[in-house]
Symmetry: C2
Subunit: 282 residues, 2 copies
């Protein structure tokens, strides 16, 4: 079932709540792939009702980013979401979410939104927290599901939920990969054949970093070099960042003591891909 | 009943919700006066359960403002709140609301937070929206009550609720005044005898402006002069602003066509007082 208005969704959820049903939310920007579907399946296993939001959120795109061209296919999304266990696909218009004159933003300040993707996308996380806060207010879910693929996003949202006292459990699900290891992403469709082939280097480089870490290397500078050098083997790869931070605080570290996030962003032509590993002693 | 922790308040409210009780919230910074009590009475008439929050919110004070000296008296507040129909006084510590590392803010951007009090208190409304958003997340009230005394605050919060899709009805209650017309305020206790006497000029000046408006004057510039000239009759009065804006949009106007907010902020010694009138055809 596709619902396009907030009031309709509220009425539907009110009826479910009256029957004591629990509600899980899977926020997406649509063009669903196996990564999203794994979140929906997980939500389906843990909640009575699953709402999948399908909204390409304009405020999380920078002025020269791919908001206009971001792939969209609601009919396909709705079929996939329902097949994976979604009960409702919430597909609002931009003016439904941001009525004329909208000017209220939720922002997590500090390094957590300035490092990694925050450096090259300075307004990105402000857009993410603003729209996810709206979705939380509309759906009032018991649990909400996010992919580890966007590990910084998950860290930022965990901080938002804690700081604003939202009574919602965030569940972070593992990265889903293609057979050759490329992390699933709606943006993979932008890649030409040669770029697609070379893009597997992200996962391979992170695997090398992880291997070195598990073999005893804990110096961040050394691990970053290992990952970056591997990525540079691919002539089309243009590194945006390779970095390691404490997770989920995303504070700077010189040595990995607890657990850390190794994250990379690499451009192939005009397409910017991200991937990551949580590094922790096993 | 005084509750000091978020988890205790959540448990209490969960039990009330299970009995299908409606919940009204009256956010205050404590040191309750008749203005607050009128909000509590109104909330009590319209809801099954009334939560009065009593929290001097540090983030809405500027660095040189009166956060440290703001009057506090929880025992007195609790008695007054209960007598007026409050069921729970929520009295959290600063670290309960802002645990270490808190860095998430809710901000209504644009002129609405830049004019009037926003001009001399540039971070004030960001602090207000941040803490009220927290209280809304914690209490999840059906209705929340604010005084027209803080008319700009009410306008900003109405915008926040609309923009962030909070399903909460805001109720704005009339200004309560002392017998001589001075608007009730916790900060009135700061005034010495002579300042207290001269402070009645705020209400008198607004009354003159209103009289001129009701007699047919709609030019904002003219009405502002009438109000400001009256205030200047008092030697201790130092005007911060006298201004008129469309209400509740707080957009600039030259003539009053619908309804407008005439608002003043005036310092007497170190004490800054505010007052206002909604101007509308009767």
């Amino acid at each position: 079932m596709i619902i396009t208005t907030i009031s309709e969704l509220r009425n539907y959820l009110k009826a479910q709540r009256a029957k004591n049903k629990t509600v899980g939310l899977v926020p997406t920007m649509g063009f669903l792939h196996e990564g999203h579907l794994s979140l929906i399946r997980c939500a389906n296993a843990e909640n009575d009702v699953v709402v999948v939001s399908d909204f390409v959120n304009p405020t999380q795109f920078g002025p020269n980013e791919d908001y206009e061209t971001y792939p969209r296919d609601i009919e396909r999304d709705a079929k996939l979401a329902v097949a994976a266990g979604g009960d409702v696909v919430f597909y609002p218009s931009v003016t439904e979410m941001y009525p004329e004159g909208s000017a209220t933003f939720v922002e997590v300040e500090g390094n957590i939104t300035r490092v990694l993707c925050g450096a090259s996308r300075p307004t990105h996380f402000k857009g993410v927290t603003t729209v996810v806060n709206m979705l939380f207010n509309i759906v009032k879910p018991d649990k909400a599901y996010f992919g580890q693929k966007d590990a910084q996003q998950a860290a930022v949202l965990m901080k938002m939920v804690r700081d604003t006292h939202q009574n919602i459990e965030l569940v972070v699900c593992p990265i889903v990969r293609e057979e050759d290891g490329l992390a699933m992403s709606s943006r993979n469709t932008y890649l030409n054949d040669e770029e697609r082939k070379q893009a597997t280097i992200l996962n391979q480089a992170l695997a090398e970093g992880e291997k070195a870490f598990l073999a005893g290397e804990t110096a961040v500078e050394k691990l970053v070099s290992i990952i970056a050098d591997k990525i540079k083997e691919m002539p089309l790869a243009e590194i945006d960042y390779v970095d390691i931070y404490d997770f989920p605080s995303l504070t700077e570290i010189k040595k990995i003591e607890r657990q850390a996030l190794a994250a990379v962003a690499v451009k192939f032509g005009k397409t910017r891909l991200i991937d990551n590993r949580i590094l922790r002693e096993e």
